[in-house]
Symmetry: C2
Amino acid sequence: MAGSGQSAGAATTVPARAQHPTLVDVARQANVSASTASRALQDSPRISEPTKRRVRAAARKLGYEPNRIARSLRTRSANFVGIVVPDIGIGFYSRVVKGAGDVLEKAGYQMLVMSTEREAERERKALRTLLEHRVDGILLATSGGVTNLPRGLVVFFDNIVPDVGVANVALANRAGMGLLVEHLAGHGHERIAYIGGPVSSTSGEERLDGFRRSIARLGLAELPGSTQIGDAVWSSASGAEAMRRLLELPTPPTAVVAASDTLALGAMQACRDAGLRVPADVALASFDDPAFGELLDPPITALARNDRRLGELAASLVLHALEVGVDGPPSEVRVPVELAVRRSCGCP
Amino acid sequence: MAGSGQSAGAATTVPARAQHPTLVDVARQANVSASTASRALQDSPRISEPTKRRVRAAARKLGYEPNRIARSLRTRSANFVGIVVPDIGIGFYSRVVKGAGDVLEKAGYQMLVMSTEREAERERKALRTLLEHRVDGILLATSGGVTNLPRGLVVFFDNIVPDVGVANVALANRAGMGLLVEHLAGHGHERIAYIGGPVSSTSGEERLDGFRRSIARLGLAELPGSTQIGDAVWSSASGAEAMRRLLELPTPPTAVVAASDTLALGAMQACRDAGLRVPADVALASFDDPAFGELLDPPITALARNDRRLGELAASLVLHALEVGVDGPPSEVRVPVELAVRRSCGCP
DNA sequence: CTGAAAGCGCTTACAG
DNA sequence: CTGAAAGCGCTTACAG
């Protein structure tokens, strides 16, 4: 039938997957036992130099590539760490993934990345898959899919579930908000409004709380209707809508702080559409730094985040737990943020 | 010594990793053999309904999670596909990863993501790791780390190596450039310049070529010094520099097409710094659509890409090869792009 | 310094 | 319809 294959004898359904040489192939070639070959390739001190050389030469000659699956089964550790994020297409998460990947790779671990599209069902499935692969640990930015805590070592990040997991790490949401509000107040603003994300997420909740505390600390009043919440994905469109609601207030704010770059961009757009100038008519500051914040018109004052660092920390925490075991409540880590002063706040 | 562990008898170095129940545990609980338990969980038609129910109940009761490592070793297929990208932090790549992940997941595969930071050495290492994990296929956006083609099924994307691999997929670079140049020419521009990336990459080469062909097709002259190449990462800074060089030309261009969003943003910045207005003084169009292209001032005319679609295609291609095997030269797929007309080109 | 043997947790011919 | 046995490719006590 078919018969168009290049190599003779290959079954039709079998793709051209070359048979990998195994350790016993190497051992045979080097005239030693499999045990010795294994130890030689691990550079065990129990093997003589000449033997090691012979085994290594044999491995090279055969193009031997150790089978990690077999190794994992035998050693009962896959050397895998799973990371599950709501959406890998979002800059924040992809940068966290990078940071985590770097430290995991250095420690000899591989990373299994799962993007859940913010669906609880997909998150549960991702978690199950990870567990079936016997990952050594999990880095989890949950979208609400964790009904019962997955057994094993999990470090929560971004979206924290209090008191569970071995650790959790997030940005310094409250402190960051404080920086933003204080800066705006420093420009003389007294009517500062807030555009944020749903308080069901850690960022949404902590940033709103940070905003309120700052307002109070500065002795300012929280005006009615001056805190607006956007949609679940913190979309620019919902940021624009929120801004419009703010502008319709009997006495609109003179300054607005947005809890994310997307929200801020939408807000800026809404201002422009309303014929308002930023910062002359409304000052604006953003929690997240948009990718091209300095190229916007006006360049946007925002918090410079260190997303990679967050990923590195999360990975280090799971690695640490892997090494020393866990006991006690989760450690809570907050990654500091820094104010990047540009023009949208009113600075020259 | 230590003795701070909660559960009795746990060795100090062993983290609190619960012992997973195995298939024989399930079998014992259900009073069947391991073979039967295995078949029951696979819903084999050879097993009676009552037995299946009993086995499933036992599995549920014990919280059984099949060990994929053992299964992979036994079936000699990890059901893994590797994807290696230069930088997962870049929107394009993370979107491709998402697209690929979606179709792979649906087909029952897991994705191993490797980000190489554009270093050939890291790329080689990533490839080796993937092979050691016996991935069934590889999706590769190479940064030049492929000296000898890794054995196995590889689909190249973004950066193509001619005539190798089972398939390659990239954006319709030449056609896209044509769209951009023609649109600018439609505005009456005759002095159109180009800012691109290094021609050592597929995108760099094909986009420059596409530019030149379009210019020629339109009967326009390619002015000396009117094609400028930025740095290896297509940075905004190098785009700005390229723009400055263009503006210093004895007779500067009236329109510029940038081969990427980053380059375009840099160019726009340089224009602004030079006191030039876009599009009044210089019209601008960009190959890639920046994340917030419509929020820029002016909103930028660009090609709306379908990065996810590219990832989906790449994954489908590797899956196809997995199923039917490979023969013949690689199939070459180009993902179409679409013109998103906004304001930077001169449209009202 | 080296080797024979057991076993990690599955799946799957083979037999009944 | 069910089970006993072999084996995927390693690593690692155990013995010498």
